[in-house]
């Protein structure tokens, strides 16, 4: 048996060997009947399998949106951070400044509104947000 790795027969068949190596493998195939038989078998198999596989292909109707969608995880984090900051401010600030009850309640409204807006953004896609925006401006 020659110094040819049998996997190189497949690589030759697939046109994946560099020219120098390809010519060495071709020479080995020409001089070795065992290698030649294996190469012929691989060729027949490749042709039959490629032909069968090609019958599965079809035109898929794919729609690519014009806008690049944001990664959902990043969007979730982006929505969570401002809400968390607002919550920290509302619970820490009144305690630090010892604010009156009415001021404290007022401060609660701000993060609540922020949380609602960001939660809304989370569940709505960009195109839906635009639709809502149009509703509000009309």
């Amino acid at each position: 048996m020659s110094s040819i790795d049998s996997a190189e027969l497949s690589a030759l068949l697939d046109g994946e060997l560099d020219p120098e190596r390809a010519s060495m493998v071709c020479q080995a195939i020409a001089s070795d009947p065992v290698l030649r038989a294996e190469f012929e078998m691989l060729k027949r198999l490749d042709r039959a399998v490629a032909e069968a596989a090609s019958t599965a292909a079809f035109e898929a109707g794919v729609v690519i949106p014009e806008e690049i969608p944001q990664n959902h995880l990043l969007r979730s984090i982006a929505a969570f951070v401002p809400a968390l900051c607002a919550l920290l401010v509302v619970y820490i600030l009144p305690k630090l400044l010892d604010l009156a009850l009415s001021t404290s309640i007022f401060l609660h409204i701000i993060p609540f509104a922020l949380i609602m807006v960001w939660a809304f953004r989370l569940v709505m896609r960009n195109d839906e947000m635009k639709e809502w925006g149009r509703c509000f401006t009309l």
Binding site: A53, A60, I64
Partner: protein, 163 residues
């Protein structure tokens, strides 16, 4: 790297959609699911376009996403390989679709997972060695030997079944 626009992405994708559909069909065994998987993969790819390394083959990156979308769809519909094959036989009886790819898909499932995967990507997806290495995240040398032994294993099956 300059950021890719949606239309640039669409142009890169267009030449590989038909093969991706064939590949997805060979895994999911029917056309509507295959179309869904390719659509889902196209959206995922657009979302993750920043992860694409422009020095490497786009087709390999794209098929890695298609492959994951197909597996997700299989998991979602909770269909084991056996139920999927069952569906295929029903679909086959109703339609006049060519059955050669279905026969091949069935034969591939009888091989080891590594062999099945590399042959499916090679023949249904039409991936070359560099693209296979990227899609499967393995070195080129491994692609060469795995593909060779997968072919030999498939040849044995085909001979055994006298097809």
């Amino acid at each position: 790297m300059a950021e890719m626009t949606s239309s640039e992405y669409g142009q890169l994708l267009a030449p590989w959609l038909t093969q991706a559909a064939g590949y997805a069909r060979s895994l999911l065994l029917n056309k509507p699911d295959a179309e869904d998987a390719v659509q889902q993969a196209a959206l995922r790819g657009l979302e993750r376009i920043r992860t694409y390394d422009a020095k490497r083959p786009f087709k390999g990156w794209w098929f890695a996403i298609v492959r994951n979308s197909c597996f997700d769809l299989l998991r979602k519909r909770k269909s084991s390989r056996l139920t999927a094959l069952g569906n295929m036989e029903i679909a086959d009886a109703r339609s006049s679709e060519p059955a050669r790819w279905q026969q091949l898909a069935k034969q591939l499932t009888q091989l080891s997972q590594d062999h099945e995967e590399i042959l499916r990507l090679r023949y249904f997806g039409g991936l070359d060695y560099g693209e296979l290495a990227y899609a499967l995240d393995i070195p080129l040398g491994t692609v060469m030997s795995r593909l060779h032994f997968a072919r030999k294993a498939l040849a044995e099956k085909i001979n055994k079944e006298d097809l």
